[in-house]
């Protein structure tokens, strides 16, 4: 049994995702408590040089295989299961992302490891791993104790600052042999589909006015657009708006959309589901309008208004214009 804290690195199109650094930063702190090392697990093909960007880790375990060139729920889970089986780390942190969802529960079953998901915090408490999950649409936090001497926690992106984990350096890279039959999978990667381009890049905007389901109908969109214009910003949205095809996918903020960090994020009729908050909580200033005083958006907002957006938005636009 080891006291190491493992972090599964997530990457897409040759780029390590920020969530990896968030977890590395946290892992440093945790490894300090457990007295183990921070080990980053990097799986891929021809991306060994990425290990250099994982300087916050003491060691990088690198598994190279053609079947790992692109993320694949089956080959990646097999590979990770193999690595965890060999190393039995004290704790493994996996991003609770689209990719991580396919890994964490899989290794929990394959390797018979306890798993707690949707974590926003992880601690050692009297030698036990304690994870805090954000459940019930962000309305309830649940603190779980994980048993045994090896366990897995999947962590929501945006839970920890990425800076702490962003260290260049040259951690020891240890290449791990891939398990047999890694390319014999029942899931086969075909290709990546890029979002249609040509629209405003909301990640590059200083000011975003973001609309949610509270807007009720597509017809009300121009009203919010006018506010965005008056503020000199762009329109973004929660997912239902994109699902309804009222705005293109490129305007979606959140887990399955884009992560944004504008100077001002103005949330209009957005409840603040964790998947949405994940994409905007790092904004410098967040103002939210929502008629429900209990809406979780107010937990991340700096200023809140519990009035009808149909009253406040036009009033504000008018004042800004005059």
């Amino acid at each position: 049994m080891s006291q190491d804290v493992f972090v599964v690195a997530e990457h897409l199109q040759g780029k390590i995702d920020d969530v990896t650094y968030e977890l590395l930063g946290k892992a440093r702190e945790l490894a300090g408590q457990s007295g183990g090392h921070v080990v980053a697990v990097l799986m891929g093909s021809g991306i060994q040089d990425q290990a250099g960007s994982l300087g916050a880790a003491d060691k990088v375990l690198y598994m190279e295989h053609a079947a790992l060139e692109n993320f694949n729920p089956e080959s990646y889970a097999k590979a990770l299961s193999h690595i965890l089986e060999q190393n039995k780390p004290r704790l493994t942190l996996i991003p609770n992302t689209s990719m991580g969802m396919d890994l964490a529960a899989a290794v929990s079953v394959k390797n018979n490891l306890p798993l707690v998901a949707y974590a926003t915090d992880v601690q050692f408490d009297n030698g036990q791993v304690v994870a805090t999950s954000q459940l019930y649409g962000g309305k309830i936090n649940v603190e779980s104790v994980l048993e045994g001497d090896s366990s897995v926690v999947s962590v929501l992106a945006g839970s920890f600052p990425a800076d702490a984990g962003k260290q260049d350096g040259s951690p020891a890279v240890e290449t791990v042999a891939a398990p047999d039959g890694l390319d014999q999978t029942r899931v086969r990667f075909k290709n990546l589909i890029q979002p249609e381009g040509g629209d405003v890049d909301i990640t590059q905007q200083d000011i975003l006015v973001s609309v949610g389901r509270g807007i009720q109908s597509e017809d009300n969109l121009p009203m919010v657009e006018e506010l965005a214009e008056a503020l000199g910003g762009a329109l973004a949205s929660s997912r239902p708006i994109v699902d309804n095809k009222w705005l293109p996918k490129t305007r979606q903020v959140g887990k399955s959309g884009l992560k944004v960090k504008p100077k001002l994020y103005f949330a209009v009729g957005i409840s603040g589901a964790p998947e949405h908050i994940e994409g905007m909580k790092d904004s410098e200033l967040i103002i939210a309008i929502n008629t429900d005083p209990e809406a979780p958006i107010f937990e991340v907002a700096h200023y809140g208004v519990t009035e009808d957006l149909f009253d406040v938005v036009p009033a504000l636009t008018e004042k800004l214009k005059s």
Partner: protein, 426 residues
């Protein structure tokens, strides 16, 4: 389509040397005649689909006199009316999949003037029910149906909070579950239970009932939407589900009559519930209060020019035009002025028959909302208060006051709010 005759077929024009009619030679210099027009030349498939439905029959009675069109509130802001619907179905439009199906607010002004009794109040729900079964239901409406089924109210609010408004009503609002027996069972309904402006009116009525010493109780969390508007929007199953539940609930309690705030509840409880075994004496609060006005002490002079909008389901549907006016006229300082369209010919706020949940849909088919049109009429007659007594209207008209730029000129008040205002503080 087989043969849509928009002009006269040349084959039907016959020139005759002699014209003999009923044994009489009526030949003249000009003997051109038209053969009888064969109305079954139309492919009646689409019309048959409607008239075959129970409730849909009367669409076939239309002889296109067109009386209904100028009185249709939707036609005033769009292109609508029973005659137009008939004609387009006759020409082959499938009403079940047509946007025509969802614009009718079942206001009943057409039936009032129709010599053939083409009854949209029957036709619309019958056809809509089929459309809903086939999956053609506008999304906004679907949401309201789903909310109603899940929570017993179309707003999607917690059923446990149905009586939450009573907490700060300032007066006792007894719950039947504890009280068991009362002279008057007040059926509050959804918007008066949940909508902030509906709640204002509920609190006002609670105060007046207390002031009058009425022995009353409400069903609280046991009350479910009567679903009259959902029924008219085509969800008869939803209506039946909750009618059965409400009737079962009310069976547990003793009361003499039901008092309603909502004319849509009045319509359901009075006309539809008996079909399901629930027979009650039901009164709208205006009818209930009008004879008791002398028991109220009005200390506050209002000085308002008030115009009154007759709710479709109180006036035309249930024949009450006087009580609201009696109340308004009894309030000190109130000058009642009528709009051009009033009483039997009153306009419609647009909320009935499912219109409450078709706002975005309607916007695509009308030049302005019905509520906006009505608000402008109220402003035109110089009113400074638009008085209403249906919970759909307060929110619709207040919104319309804003959207028509009449803020500051006109306010919207439920009659019961004006009563309480006239009663003065405490």
């Amino acid at each position: 389509m087989a043969s849509n005759k928009l002009s006269i077929d040349p084959d039907q024009i016959i020139e005759k040397e002699h014209v003999v009619q009923e044994g009489m030679d009526i030949s003249g210099q000009w003997n051109r005649m038209f053969e009888q027009r064969v109305i079954w030349d139309y492919n009646t498939e689409m019309l048959d689909k409607v008239t075959a439905l129970e409730g849909g029959e009367s669409l076939g009675y239309c002889y296109q006199c067109g009386q209904c069109v100028p009185v249709c509130p939707v036609n005033l802001v769009g292109d609508y009316g029973p005659r137009k619907i008939f004609r387009r179905v006759q020409l082959g439009e499938d009403l079940f999949q047509s946007p025509l199906l969802w614009q009718c607010t079942t206001c009943m002004n057409c039936l009032r003037v129709c010599p053939k009794e083409v009854d949209m109040i029957q036709i619309m729900p019958a056809v809509r029910q089929e459309a809903v079964l086939q999956g053609y239901v506008p999304e906004e409406l679907q949401q309201a149906f789903e909310n109603t089924f899940d929570y017993g109210n179309p707003l999607g609010e917690s059923p446990k909070k149905r009586a939450a408004w009573t907490k700060d009503a300032g007066v006792p609002v007894p719950i039947m579950k504890e009280k068991k027996k009362a002279d008057v069972l007040w059926f509050v309904e959804c918007y008066p239970s949940y909508h902030p402006r509906g709640i204002d009116a509920s609190k006002a009525l609670a105060r007046v009932l207390n002031e009058l010493g009425v022995d009353f109780g409400i069903l609280g969390v046991e009350e479910k939407c009567t679903c009259d508007s959902q029924r008219l929007a085509g969800e008869i199953g939803l209506f039946e589900e909750f009618a059965e539940q409400n009737i079962k609930t009310m069976k547990r309690y003793k009361f003499n009559k039901i008092l309603v705030t909502d004319p849509h509840a009045l319509n359901a409880l009075r006309k539809e519930y008996p079909k399901y075994g629930g027979k009650y004496e039901v009164v709208h609060y205006t009818t209930f209060l009008a004879p008791m006005l002398d028991k109220l002490n009005f200390t506050n002079k209002l000085n308002y020019k008030v115009t009154f909008h007759d709710p479709c389901y109180l006036g035309r549907h249930n024949g009450e035009f006087e009580a609201p006016r009696q109340i308004l006229q009894a309030l000190p300082g109130v000058e009642l002025i009528e709009m051009f369209r009033c009483r039997e010919n009153s306009y419609c706020c647009g909320g009935g028959g499912g219109g409450m949940w078709l706002d975005g849909f309607m916007a695509d088919h009308v030049s302005e909302r019905l509520s906006e049109r009505r608000v402008r009429e109220a402003v035109e007659v110089g009113a400074d208060v638009l008085a209403v007594c249906c919970p759909y209207e307060v929110s619709r008209f207040e919104d319309a006051v804003k959207s028509t730029g009449n803020e500051g000129k006109l306010v919207v008040r439920d009659i019961i709010e004006l009563v309480v205002e006239a009663m003065g503080a405490n």
